[in-house]
């Protein structure tokens, strides 16, 4: 099947959600053609507000709308929601636990050519530490579609991390796939090691798993689409059953998925090695998305290498 970006399917689903639920209100800050809220705007103009290039204000407006009972989606690049409007998300949205879905598109290195100023690799970390915030990172189109509905059904703040670049279908291969907030998905069974991945890195982890198979290593792959609340049971079962863990994320290794998984492991009685694949605490660079991913070690080769490191540490 054709690759499609998570932001594209997000935009289409949001519009569909708006057809069904007239409490849904969408706010954007002059990026509706990129966050793909343009579909909703075209269909439901009376419930769409483009506040201009003012992300702090956008989040505040979203909070005010939610305070009256609306289900609100506020949208910009990850850098400008989670990054720029952190204080507004914390104090105007999360502290009063308002029903605002903060959407950060163009997250991570796959923004590509726009370079480091736009390649947010800290958003999961920032959003994860705010009390009451739920953090969701879908890996493909179908998961994105289901997650939009799941977030709408949940009454409270969420951060939704999306990418710019088209991605392959991952969960389509799982029969009857049902997205549930906080419930990780085993996308490939395995007994020797577990790769816990999120977002774009789920597909990469699956590639690594296939390569490892040839070497006689059976790697389990878990799609950890919800970074918070993290699925402790899935992590601990993986630790017990496979004895080593690799995490893979298009994000700084500090504060995101790798940190969240490590926190669960070190506070358990199942101390297994954890190797974190991700951006190694550096800024990105302008280049095509796939070149960036390769340059910063977000590849199946690197994941396979990390798997061998983890097994060796066991």
């Amino acid at each position: 099947m054709k690759k499609v970006s998570t932001r594209e399917i997000y935009g289409r689903t949001l519009c569909e959600l708006g057809d069904r639920d007239d409490s849904v209100v969408v706010v954007d800050a002059d990026l509706s053609l990129c966050t793909m809220t343009c579909y909703f705007a075209g269909k439901h103009p009376e419930r769409f507000f483009n506040v201009g290039i003012s992300e702090a204000n956008m989040v505040g407006v979203g909070a005010g709308l939610a305070a009256t009972g609306k289900t609100v989606f506020v949208n910009s690049f990850a850098m400008f929601t989670a990054g720029r409007a952190y204080d507004q998300i914390r104090n105007s949205v999360c502290y009063p636990h308002l029903n605002v879905k903060v959407v950060g598109t163009h997250a991570g290195l796959t923004v590509g050519e726009d370079g480091a100023t736009h390649q947010c690799v800290e958003d999961m970390s920032l959003m994860r530490t705010v009390p009451g915030m739920t953090v969701i990172v879908p890996c493909d189109a179908e998961e994105t579609r289901q997650a939009v509905y799941a977030m709408a059904d949940y009454n409270g703040p969420c951060y939704f991390r999306l990418g710019r670049a088209p991605v392959s279908n991952v969960v389509d291969s799982l029969p009857g796939y049902k997205f549930e907030i906080g419930k990780a998905v085993t996308v490939k069974e395995g007994t020797d090691v577990t790769v816990i991945a999120a977002g774009t890195m789920v597909e990469v982890a699956l590639e690594a798993s296939s390569a490892l198979k040839v070497k006689g290593i059976n790697a389990r792959v878990i799609n950890m689409h919800t970074i918070k609340p993290i699925d402790r049971n899935a992590i601990l079962s993986a630790a017990r059953e496979t004895g080593a863990i690799v995490t893979a994320e298009e994000h700084n290794v500090i504060g995101g998925l790798g940190s969240a998984v490590s926190e669960v492991i070190v506070e358990s009685d199942t101390r297994v090695p954890v190797v974190r694949v991700g951006v190694q605490d550096v800024f990105g660079h302008s280049a095509p998305a796939e070149v960036c991913m390769a340059a910063y070690g977000l590849t199946s080769d690197r994941v396979a290498q990390a798997v061998q490191q983890a097994i060796a540490m066991r």
Partner: protein, 287 residues
């Protein structure tokens, strides 16, 4: 406004000033200066004009008020309590670990609070969101926001001002509590002259400038704001920080400092005298 109504509102404001003092006295902390300057604005809103019912604090059709200068809880909570949203006994537990009354306004814990605030500059955006929601729902309610003149140094205020004007939300009315003082000193010396009316006017707002301690002027300015269609309104309320307590008035020291016991006694005495002037007493109101 009838003379008797004016006296009634001034009496309420005076008693709430005493409540605010008592709250800060019991907590040994809190922001008195800005609470005393904003008290008359809150009195007119909550006791005179807003379409609200303390029995139904979550009524979806109610008017809303966002206290963007969210640290002025001694004023807001005195007003809400006197208006009947929660028992007066709560006030004496202000800023304590087992109390719902924190240092900054909280919508999840305190009946009558429409929006949490504290980090300055965020309330106007929330007010705009509420005003837009009212429009989506068919224009059922009005929204008020109250900002400090120091607070409008925050950039987000001007993002919101621009968007409110763009969306022509004429159900949004903003008070600037223009008391001329911020934490570090006189606003003019720190952030420059606020020139709030001229700035908002340039942003496309209807503007009025009034004496923010005159009940009748406040009410009239609100009536004028409601008559304006196609743009939001700002009422620059010229106020005195520390209003009503002689030694606090217009003195930057009283942004967040706590008076001594002797000073509290002087302050309460002045409010007692003011009540006597108004021909009112503490009857039915514990001090």
């Amino acid at each position: 406004m009838e003379a008797s109504r004016k006296i009634e509102l001034e009496t309420i404001a005076t008693k709430c000033r005493a409540d605010a003092l008592a709250m800060v006295r019991s907590a040994h902390s809190g922001h008195l200066g800005g609470s005393l300057s904003v008290m008359d604005l809150l009195t007119v809103l909550y006791f005179d004009v807003m379409n609200i019912d303390p029995e139904k604090p979550h009524d979806p059709h109610r008017d809303r008020c966002v206290l963007s200068k969210g640290h002025c809880t001694p004023a807001m909570y005195s007003i809400l309590s006197r208006r009947g949203y929660f028992p007066r006994a709560w006030l004496s537990n202000f800023r304590q670990i087992d109390s719902v009354l924190s240092g900054h306004v909280e919508m999840t814990k305190v009946p009558g609070v429409d929006m949490s605030a504290g980090s300055l500059g965020q309330g106007l955006s929330a007010g705009l969101g509420m005003a837009l929601a009212s429009r989506v729902d068919g224009g059922k309610y009005r929204v008020y926001a109250i900002c400090g003149d120091g607070e409008i140094q925050e950039g987000q205020i001007w993002e919101a001002a621009q968007a409110a004007s763009h969306y022509a939300v004429d159900n949004l009315t903003v008070f600037i509590d223009n008391n001329g003082i911020q934490l570090d000193g006189f606003t003019e010396q720190i952030g420059g002259a606020s020139n709030a009316a001229a700035k908002f006017s340039a942003f496309g707002w209807h503007t009025t400038e009034i004496d923010g301690h005159d009940m009748e002027s406040i009410e009239k300015a609100l009536e004028e704001a409601w008559s304006i269609s196609g743009k939001p309104s700002v009422i620059v309320a010229n106020t005195v920080k520390g209003k009503g307590i002689s030694f606090m008035e217009n003195n930057p020291k009283w942004h967040g400092n706590v008076p001594t016991e002797d000073e509290f006694e002087i302050a309460f005495k002045e409010l007692d005298d003011r009540l006597a002037e108004l021909g009112a007493s503490w009857e039915g109101w514990a001090r």
